[in-house]
C-alpha cells in the first residue's frame, strides 16, 4: 500500500518514447548531418575524424573526390563539426539510427569534381575549393592585381609549386655566385 502511495506521489516516470517523440537535450550529439551543397571537399573532417568514420579519397577512376561517411563507425565526438570551414557537416539531433539486415544503409557518400593544375594538368583538388578561395579573396578587399596573383598561386598543384620555388631560389642563388 505504501508503495502505491509513493507511486501516486511521484507519478509516471517512464518516457512516452517511441509512442511520442523524444526531445533531446540542448547540445545533444546526434548523427552528423551532411550538407552536400556546402561541402568544398577540403578533407579537414577526414583528417580530424578519430575513428575514420569519414573518409575523403579519390574514386577508383581517379577523376572524382569522394566523401564517405559510415554512421556505424561514428563515435559522435563532433570533431568534424569543429573543423569544417563551411559548416557542411554538423552534429544533428537524430538518434534513430538503427538499421536491419542491410549495413549499407548506414553509409552516405558524395562526389565532387576535380580541378586540374594549370602547369602540369594533373588533378589535385576540387573545383569547389578553388571557387571558395577565390570568393573569399574578393570579400577580403584586396586589389584586382593581388587577387589575380593569388588565384594563379592556388591553381597550381603542390608539386609544381615546389618546382617553381626551387627554380626561383636557384635563379637568385646563381646570381650571387662568381663564375
Amino acid at each position: 500500500m505504501k508503495l502505491l502511495d509513493m507511486t501516486r506521489k511521484y507519478g509516471n516516470a517512464t518516457y512516452e518514447y517511441p509512442f511520442a517523440p523524444y526531445d533531446v537535450a540542448d547540445g545533444f550529439r546526434g548523427k552528423p548531418e551532411y550538407d552536400y551543397d556546402k561541402c568544398i571537399g577540403c578533407t579537414a573532417c577526414g583528417v580530424a575524424c578519430p575513428s575514420n568514420a569519414i573518409n575523403v579519397e579519390l574514386n577508383e577512376a581517379k577523376d572524382k573526390l569522394v566523401w564517405k561517411f559510415d554512421c556505424g563507425r561514428c563515435i559522435y565526438c563532433g570533431r568534424c563539426d569543429e573543423v569544417c570551414p563551411t559548416n557542411a557537416v554538423m552534429l544533428g539531433s537524430n538518434f534513430e539510427t538503427a538499421v536491419r539486415f542491410n549495413k549499407e544503409d548506414l553509409t552516405e557518400s558524395a562526389e565532387l569534381e576535380l580541378e586540374c593544375c594549370q602547369n602540369c594538368g594533373k588533378k589535385f583538388t576540387t573545383k569547389r575549393l578553388i571557387a571558395y578561395c577565390i570568393e573569399n579573396f574578393k570579400k577580403v578587399g584586396w586589389s584586382e592585381s593581388v587577387i589575380q596573383e593569388k588565384t594563379k598561386y592556388i591553381k597550381t598543384c603542390p608539386v609544381c609549386k615546389k618546382a617553381d620555388s626551387v627554380e626561383l631560389v636557384s635563379k637568385h642563388f646563381s646570381k650571387g655566385v662568381k663564375k
Binding site: 534513430e96 539510427t97 539486415f101 544503409d105 570579400k139
Partner: protein
C-alpha cells in the same frame, strides 16, 4: 585478422531471414535478450542498464534480460570482439536456440568503432558471426536502444537509407558580406569565440556578436557602437556570453577599427573597462 569461423550448416539452415521473420510474427511471448560483452569499454553496458530502468521500461515491448544464452531470442553483442572474447562469443552464439537475432550494439559492435584497426580486435561482431541489426552510437542513447530493439522485432520502421550525392554544382557556398568589407574581421571573431567558448557555444557567440555588430548604424563610430552593443549585452541572459561579447569588442572590433581610424584602445568611452566586465556577472 582473417575469418576463421564458419557457421555450421545446421545453424545457418535454421537462421534464414524468413525463419527470423516467422519467429517474430508467431512469438506470442516476451523477447529474451542476452547481453554478451565482447570486450567493450563498459560504456555500452552502462547505457543498456540505463535503458532497462523504469525511465525507459523496455518491458512495455516485452524485452527481458536473461542470464543464459540458452534462454535468449536476441543476442545483444557489445564491443569490438577482442581476441580473448572470440571463443566465448562463439559459444554463446551456438548455445542460443535457433532462430536467433543478433544485434551489433554500439559503434564497436557495428564496425569496431574507435577500435576498428586495433591489433587485438576483430573490428565488429559481423566479422565473426552473422548480424541482423546494427545499433550505432558510442554508446547509443537509451532512446536509440529502444528504437533499435523495436526495429529489430519490426515494431518500428528503419529510418536511415543509403544516401549518394552526385553531380552537384561547382559553385562555392555563399559567403556572407562583412560589416567592415573584410571577412578577416568575421574570421577573427570566430577564432576568438571558439578559443573562449569552444566550437559549439563559440558558434553561437559568433552569431550573436556579428548580428549585434551588423545592426550598428555607424560601424566606424566606436562611442555609439559601444552604446548599442551594451543594449544587446543587457538583454543577454547568459553571463558568459555577456563577458565574452565585451572581450570581443575590446580585442577584435577595436583592433580592426584601428585600421580605419586613429583611436585610443584604452579610452573608457569606447572600450569596456574592468569594472564593467565584472558587472557582467551580476
Amino acid at each position: 585478422m582473417s575469418k576463421t569461423y564458419v557457421v555450421p550448416t545446421e545453424i545457418s539452415e535454421l537462421n534464414r531471414v524468413e525463419d527470423k521473420l516467422e519467429l517474430l510474427k508467431d512469438i506470442k511471448r516476451s523477447f529474451s535478450v542476452y547481453r554478451i560483452d565482447c570486450g567493450s569499454c563498459n560504456g555500452c553496458e552502462i547505457e543498456i542498464f540505463a535503458s532497462i530502468t523504469p525511465m525507459w521500461d523496455p518491458e512495455r515491448f516485452g524485452f527481458k534480460l536473461v542470464a543464459n544464452p540458452r534462454h535468449a531470442d536476441i543476442l545483444l553483442c557489445t564491443g569490438p570482439v577482442t581476441r580473448q572474447m572470440y571463443y566465448p562469443l562463439l559459444r554463446a552464439y551456438e548455445a542460443a536456440p535457433d532462430p536467433k537475432i543478433v544485434v551489433g550494439y554500439g559503434a564497436c559492435g557495428s564496425t569496431g568503432g574507435i577500435f576498428h584497426d586495433c591489433y587485438s580486435t576483430w573490428g565488429g561482431v559481423d566479422k565473426v558471426i552473422p548480424v541482423d541489426v546494427w545499433i550505432p552510437g558510442c554508446p547509443p542513447h537509451p532512446a536509440s536502444t529502444i528504437y533499435g530493439l523495436a526495429t529489430a522485432i519490426g515494431i518500428l520502421d528503419q529510418k536511415l537509407k543509403k544516401v549518394e550525392h552526385k553531380d552537384g554544382s561547382n559553385e562555392a557556398p555563399v559567403i556572407e558580406k562583412s560589416v567592415f568589407g573584410n571577412t578577416l574581421f568575421e574570421r577573427e571573431v570566430m577564432e576568438r569565440a571558439r578559443v573562449m567558448m569552444g566550437y559549439l557555444h563559440g558558434r553561437e557567440l559568433h552569431k550573436v556578436f556579428t548580428k549585434a555588430v551588423s545592426s550598428i548604424k555607424d560601424i566606424y563610430n566606436p562611442v555609439s557602437s559601444k552604446k548599442s552593443l551594451l543594449e544587446v549585452i543587457k538583454k543577454e541572459e547568459d553571463p558568459r556570453f555577456r563577458e565574452c561579447m565585451m572581450i570581443l569588442h575590446n580585442d577584435v572590433y577595436l583592433k580592426h577599427l584601428k585600421r580605419f581610424k586613429n583611436i585610443d584602445k584604452c579610452n573608457p568611452a569606447i572600450c569596456f573597462t574592468k569594472e564593467e566586465m565584472e558587472l557582467a556577472y551580476d
